[in-house]
Symmetry: C2
Subunit: 298 residues, 2 copies
């Protein structure tokens, strides 16, 4: 595989992991950090340390930008805009779709190409086959950088031309799915503990439910969403709604707040009110995004 020249701007925990992984694959890696001490330690990993940001950026055709936040990154790119022509900027900062699109506009106006990176792994996983980093933005940039970007995480995917897609995917799957599922496990465990059940007693059922979740998402929920066919000859949404209502009452009986369970009941009730009660439980997809939450936290 051909070797590339890449500048990594920002060498916090994640930036350092990225620089090390690229250097260990034989690429010529230039590093810069606002506090130079953090970058200096990367010299022993074979990285070339620059103390001037613009100098670091000018040394490579590809730049991986991974500083703390978008405000800092925008200031940096504004300061270096005269040197962005022909550069490919990969932006690994966590933010919104609008942040990514605005950054892409800035880079395009200065003559560069842009990829947004949604880093869905921990620093310790960078460089492994299992690590997932999603990319979105210019397809030509992806085609050119794919080889070394995939070395950072073997599970990486390209999500298409909208620079916002990587951040949107993170909001949907790390946020709205994974983080809520984790919270649900903790709410369930607090309930079980209040009812006198231990983690150990619950382990076989927990593992069973994790298997079932994976199987039903892949074999039933995804095909239903893709095809738009929410029919079922198994338990209907009405049946699940009755069970959820009963389970929630059990939680209230042992003094639980049941925040997520109540929101779940609310989602099912709105699906039923939308006329989907005799369809499959996956039909809540049709109404899950509709309307406004009654409790506004803003």
């Amino acid at each position: 595989m051909s070797k590339s020249q890449i500048s990594v701007l920002g060498t916090g925990l994640m930036g350092s992991a990225i620089a090390r992984a690229l250097a260990s694959c034989g690429h010529e890696v230039v590093v810069w950090n606002r506090s130079p001490a953090k970058a200096a330690s990367l010299a022993s990993a074979g990285c070339s340390v620059e103390t001037d940001m613009v100098a670091a950026l000018r040394r490579s055709p590809s730049v991986f930008l991974i500083v703390n936040d978008y405000t800092t990154a925008t200031q940096m790119l504004h300061g270096a805009r005269a040197h962005l022509r022909g550069k490919m900027i990969v932006n690994g900062i966590t933010g919104t779709a609008a942040d990514a699109r605005e950054m892409a506009r800035l880079v395009h106006e200065a003559g560069g190409s842009y990829l947004d990176a949604g880093i869905e792994c921990f620093p310790v996983d960078v460089g492994t086959a299992q690590a997932l980093i999603n990319y979105s933005g210019d397809d030509v940039a992806w085609a050119g950088a794919k080889d070394w970007l995939m070395q950072l995480g073997g599970a990486g995917t390209y999500l298409g031309g909208d620079p916002g897609a990587a951040n949107l995917t993170e909001a949907a799957l790390t946020g709205a799915f994974f983080n809520v599922a984790l919270g649900a496990y903790l709410e369930a465990s607090a309930f079980a503990a209040a009812a006198g059940l231990s983690v150990k007693q619950l382990l076989p059922t927990t593992l069973h439910m994790l298997d079932l979740l994976r199987r039903l998402l892949c074999e039933e929920a995804m095909p239903a969403i893709e095809s738009g066919d929410f029919g079922t000859d198994q338990a209907t949404l009405d049946v699940y709604l009755a069970a959820v209502s009963s389970w929630r009452k059990e939680m209230l009986t042992v003094g639980q707040r049941a925040s997520l369970m109540t929101a779940n009941l609310h989602n099912l009730e709105l699906a039923q009110a939308g006329g989907h009660g005799s369809k499959s439980i996956y039909a809540q997809f049709l109404t899950a995004g509709v309307g406004t939450e009654s409790r506004n936290l803003d």
Copy 2:
């Protein structure tokens, strides 16, 4: 393995699956159903069909009760209470912990022993190594019936002497965990669809998040709950709360209701307010059960 004599009272979808699985293991199975036609078809599977409920119950030392609801079952057991001495009743009806405890009391007063069964599998899975049925109630009854009960589902577990434990485990893990996690996936997918992303584009990240969920629950969340140690040298609850708040805003931006995500934010805010912001995200366990949900649906 020794053969047992078992009466299965109720031969709907699940009762029929149980009767068939027991008969195919060589046990002497007596079946009864309120509508006799449903039981009659089990004769060809080697079951002995009784049209009188009390007669069916009297023929076996062990009785698997799987009729529609607790009201029906309670009436049946009241009607047969003169014949319950020395019997072991296994109750597979879905209900609350209080339902199970009341049923156990009725059986105990009539001189029988009691096990409650939480059936966490589909009828088609009954009799397989993967099928999970949890049991709780009299430990002597469990010791005596364990062999044939485990033939109904190889993943079966005994949860202890409280007859309510099987139903509580179902409410916690099928209800508060699995069903909410499923709802979270559908809420996330509705959000992603509104943002222009397809199920196919999201598949690698979805599978990654399912793996991550399993790994973090087993390697981090469970040990934290068991040890009571919610310290972390990784991202703190405060950091996750900021991310969740940002992801939720992204959902609102594309017009989503974000019911579960809002409840999740609420749980994290209450954990932070409880003084757990600098601990791990699992510290929400400490406050997830506390207090009353502000929105009361009852």
